[in-house]
């Protein structure tokens, strides 16, 4: 049995966010070197601020400036910072209750080691050199021995407020297609298409998933199908999809390979797009080094009768 395949899968996207009035004020404030909270209906000041009262569900809009100094309420040491974390050297994750706030903000504290941090210690904001309107405008917190700093009385109204941000997201996976698809991919390297037959309903699945989705039982019996097949249905693609280097128009078809009980999807070539039809008999065209056929082309056989493929659309 061939080895089960594995490969890295990185999923990343720069999501955009509309901020709404409260987050807009908070992030614009950070850009301007001001930390803002919001006053709730019962008079508490929440930092970071929220749009809606967590107790009463009221709209909140009373923005309150708090001090850049505060007190650590709890912490955890991070021995090994990862990519994208605020500091490259080991640091403490801290919850800091800023002076004037009733809740604590999650951030990081730059100290040499875990012995230098304790609950109740006084800290202050270290601002980033360049600020854009992001939580990273606070580069980190640092120990602070001085007097408490009186907060200013900023109203939360700014010129050129930030209304949206870009929030890049990235997830790193190790992907494995599993036993059945690994065997299918292995066979493709010899230009053979091998599916699996369900022991219960006898249907042949290509590509195989290792189990029959109808009967819910494992499949194991390998069955070579094709290479020829029948176009069961199709569309003519007239617009270029992103990241696809195919000249339009082209035909995207469902092809039932001979012996398979499920159609697979592929491009049709070697025939003008407007002459492709349901029932057309086709065969794969391979290019050197490719894992999948580049496209399918007509075999020249007579078209298949509709009755033979109508269950395979």
């Amino acid at each position: 049995m061939p080895e089960v395949l594995k490969a890295p899968l990185v999923v990343e996207f720069p999501f955009t966010r509309s901020l709404g009035p409260v987050q807009s004020a908070f992030l614009t404030g950070l850009r301007e070197g001001t930390v803002l909270g919001v006053r709730t209906t019962d008079g508490r000041v929440l930092v970071p601020p929220v749009e809606y009262d967590p107790v009463t569900a009221d709209d909140l809009s009373d923005l309150v400036e708090v001090a850049p100094t505060g007190t650590v309420t709890t912490w955890a040491w991070n021995h090994e910072p990862r990519r994208g974390q605020p500091l490259a050297t080991p640091f403490a994750w801290v919850l800091v209750r800023l002076d004037g706030a009733d809740t604590a903000l999650l951030h990081v504290l730059d100290v040499p080691g875990p012995d230098a941090v304790h609950t109740g210690m006084r800290v202050r904001v270290r601002w980033a050199a360049e600020r854009t309107g992001a939580i990273t405008d606070i580069a980190c917190f640092e120990p602070y021995e001085g007097e408490a700093v009186e907060p200013g009385g900023h109203s939360g109204v700014f010129e050129n407020p930030l209304t949206g941000i870009v929030a890049p997201a990235r997830l790193d996976y190790t992907y494995s297609p599993g036993r059945a698809q690994s065997a299918y991919i292995d066979a493709l390297s010899a230009r053979r298409t091998v599916g699996e037959r369900c022991p219960s309903c006898r249907k042949v699945y290509v590509p195989p998933r290792g189990a029959c989705p109808t009967c819910g039982v494992a499949t194991a019996e390998q069955v070579e199908v094709g290479p020829r097949g029948t176009v069961t249905t199709f569309c003519i693609v007239n617009i270029k999809a992103k990241n696809l280097d195919i000249e339009v128009p082209y035909v995207y078809a469902h092809i039932a390979l001979d012996g398979a009980d499920l159609a697979l999807h592929a491009r049709i070539g070697g025939i003008p797009y407007d002459r492709v039809r349901m029932g057309l008999r086709v065969e794969p065209v391979w290019t050197e080094g490719a894992r999948y056929p580049d496209h399918y082309r007509p075999t020249g056989e007579p078209d298949a009768d509709y009755e033979t493929y109508k269950e395979l659309l």
């Binding site: 395949l5 992907y175 007239n238 999809a241």
Partner: protein, 388 residues
Amino acid sequence: MSKEPVAVTGIGQTKHVAARRDVSIAGLVREAALRALADAELTWADIDAVVIGKAPDFFEGVMMPELYLADALGAVGKPMLRVHTAGSVGGSTALVAANLVAARVHGTVLTLAFEKQSESNAMWGLSLPIPFQQPLLAGAGGFFAPHVRAYMRRSGAPDTIGSLVAYKDRRNALLNPYAHLHEHDITLEKVQASPMLWDPIRYSETCPSSDGACAMVLTDRAGAARAPRPPAWLLGGAMRSEPTLFAGKDFVSPQAGKDCAADVYRQAGIADPRRDIDAVEMYVPFSWYEPMWLENLGFAAEGEGWKLTEAGVTELDGDLPVNMSGGVLSTNPIGASGMIRFAEAALQVRGQAGEHQVARARRVLGHAYGGGSQFFSMWLVGSEPPDS
């Protein structure tokens, strides 16, 4: 013990648009929720639980957004549930909420669904570059267009049917102030002259990408008795699922859709849907799905659905109006789209649909589907309570 009758007493939605840059996701859902509360003349304190739905988290990239939406929806100190069934989610979310009332777990439930597509990338979210797999070759409509061709082959429908549906739905949208697309100069000729994107699907036969939210207040008999406006009564509701791909899958008329509709009709005592149901709001993301679903839902025999469309039966003033709101073809905040269908059905039987109100709409079906024709959810609502 019999089920508690379930009533819809509040409906709210946002004006659906391409991009709501003035509000956060929380602000968007809040707007729909407040309108539903206002319609029911209730406050946050009257709500016992919140049931929320949206399309996959990958769309906006906010993992489990319900966690941070609790404040905005007054859910603090109450149960909050998230439902997740791809494009059908707006429908199944409403049904989960309805079941909580029917089972007498809660008296009054707020249910809500949303999507902020301007901050999302659905196409990307659905076609991640999975290693070893062949990349998708066709884009969004390329998935649907071959099924449409299969329907045309099977039914012998003339190729103009899709444009008739699009022309009707876009005109209906002009009567709905919440619809996204308001194409005041729409003509049948314009639909038919629009570019052929994925032959046989034209540009004007596809749905837009919208930001929007929809909310409903569901309540028990006692809640309905206190409601300031006529309620809509749930007469039947069901969900069905099937795999995306399996040998024998019928993409033109999926078995799960037929089974789901049959269950709803059995619950509601509907013998002949064509005769007993006054209007239908169904999930039609590409125009040709109207005749396909008319058959799948039992309003026409197999291969005959297009004849209803062609004869004008599904027009707003026809004998069986379909997609009075303008449908998904005019408004598509994906996660909310199913709930908008359910809400439109309820608006109609309440007589609250304004300019797109169907006269004497006593029983109206709301329909949603999603995944690769994989999840189905439907409800039938009526102007009179069940068994009365």
